[in-house]
Symmetry: C2
Subunit: 319 residues, 2 copies
């Protein structure tokens, strides 16, 4: 496992190296300074890593694979830049978000530019370009739908877990699905193969997101970039909040209404612990990770070892 972790680090390093090499003009600085800042700002790079591993399992040439993985990462980046404006998030990967460091107009335009650059890089791939572009744009529209649902759900106390799963499937699952499936489309994969990789990625993404909700309540603002308290204040749904509200509606409402500001996070955490909500959440994310592994098992004649290990790495992550 330690070897695998350093193997993943080496892919991340390569992705970062390539991101630095993208030729971004110097001017107009209003457009390109924030773009440069944003795409070199770090990040876990899980999506391009997933693309690399999916491509390696299918012996896809490394140039095309790098382009695919960069397009995926830039698509992710574009959605983060715009989501951060919409969600008033000021910190991302430990650094100021674009709209915080500059302003909203700058961030809107930078996001537009990043998405356009993603497509330009995708179009450099010479095989199956139209199929790739169609799939890429279908994914983007689904991510927009996910973000729309996320915004609709804010402060809506009728959201149940099914609606939440649908939202994160669109907002997070779709892009991890695409990260896994794009190399297969490039490789002339059958519809069924594309479907399997996509479902593998979607389930991994769902597990990843639910696990992320869980990590946020233990992480502080330094490591995660935002705090549980602020999310809950802004009415954001997380799976734990929904489980608490579904199972203990009165107690949960009282807890939110009666806690002192400085005690809120501690009280919420204790409530989740007492009511076994942390454990329940963990078992939901585990089920998604397991479902993702089950899709991999459907792939005959493919060495999925690295993809399996990636799932394990992600389900064990603590930051």
């Amino acid at each position: 496992m330690e070897d695998f972790a350093s193997f993943i680090d080496s892919i991340r390093l390569n992705v970062n190296k390539y991101l630095k090499k993208i030729s971004i003009p110097d001017t107009p600085r209003y457009l390109y300074d924030p773009i440069r800042y944003s795409i070199r700002n770090g990040g876990k790079r899980f999506r391009p890593i997933l693309t690399h591993l999916s491509g390696r399992a299918n012996n896809i040439d490394s140039d095309a694979l790098m382009n695919l993985s960069i397009a995926v990462e830039l698509l992710h980046n574009f959605t983060l830049v715009h989501d951060d404006i919409m969600d008033n998030d000021t910190i991302r990967h430990g650094k100021q978000t674009i709209h915080e460091k500059w302003d909203s107009s700058t961030a809107i335009l930078a996001g537009d530019g990043i998405y356009t650059i993603a497509q330009i890089i995708l179009n450099e791939i010479s095989s199956n370009s139209v199929l790739l572009s169609k799939y890429f744009n279908k994914t983007t529209l689904e991510i927009c739908e996910g973000q729309a649902l996320d915004k609709e759900f804010e402060n809506d106390h009728d959201i149940d877990r099914k609606m939440y799963f649908d939202m994160i499937n669109k907002k997070t699952g779709s892009l991890l699905g695409a990260s896994a499936a794009l190399p297969i489309i490039y490789n002339d994969g059958s519809e069924e193969q594309v479907y399997i990789y996509e479902q593998f990625g979607r389930n991994l993404g769902m597990g990843f997101q639910i696990h992320d909700d869980l990590l946020e309540i233990t992480a502080d603002t330094e490591t995660m970039g935002k705090s549980l308290g602020s999310d809950i204040y802004e009415g954001k749904q997380t799976i734990m909040v929904i489980l608490a509200r579904e199972s203990y509606p009165d107690q949960w409402r009282d807890l939110l209404n009666l806690s002192e500001n400085n005690e809120l996070i501690k009280n919420i955490y204790n409530f989740f612990e007492e009511k076994n909500i942390i454990q329940e959440t963990r078992s939901i994310s585990d089920a998604y990770f397991k479902a993702s592994l089950n899709f991999l098992k459907k792939l005959d004649g493919i060495n999925t070892e690295e993809l399996v290990q990636l799932v394990h790495l992600i389900e064990k992550r603590t930051f």
Copy 2:
């Protein structure tokens, strides 16, 4: 000319009919309500009309042409939705802008969705799809650069006409260039042919934009959707402001500083008249219209009559 005008109206009608037929899902309403509102909100449709005429001159099949023209119009629409946020414009085509009717977050996401739908429609075209997509995205990035320059220029009193022309070439010229050139790319045109159509469109776009600056000072908020006064207050550059500042720096500064609010627009207008700035602007836009016609003359064996008439229609427009 009257016949031609009603011919153009019939194309506009067709474009609007097709825009209404695009299948936009009902939900999530947060995403799709403002998208529907925006793309059915009217507009002059000059860009898709240009695409249709450029395609007709080359006998391009009408289905592909419609897709190209709709992709172009949606790209335009996307930039308007985001620009309106950045520029605090509250009225567009006589109706509230999205960020005004809903809010900025809604408008950011709607713009993203519209651009994505533009690409999905572009990808439906089966010939030369990659070339079309490359050109389309190159154009989008250039429009972003133009908007970036426009933002950089705000309140900068050192902007000269050369910088201004460069800005509007990117912000407006590039998309009219693309509107004219995309059918030629679809039609396997040579690099030289694509270049000629693009330059024809760019020059038409420059003339169009400069003429637009001119129309704004006579139009009121009902017909143009914004007023000269507010643009100048917000530090926006127009060619007339630049000509006034270049030729009469002291008098122009005094006029802005000493005018009463309710007299400003009238004083500016009188100043432009007295100093022949309106006439000078008109001759600059005329020169661009003429340059666009000269590019058409380079096209041997093509019946450019409709394109020529479109230029005349645009240079004579009064609204």
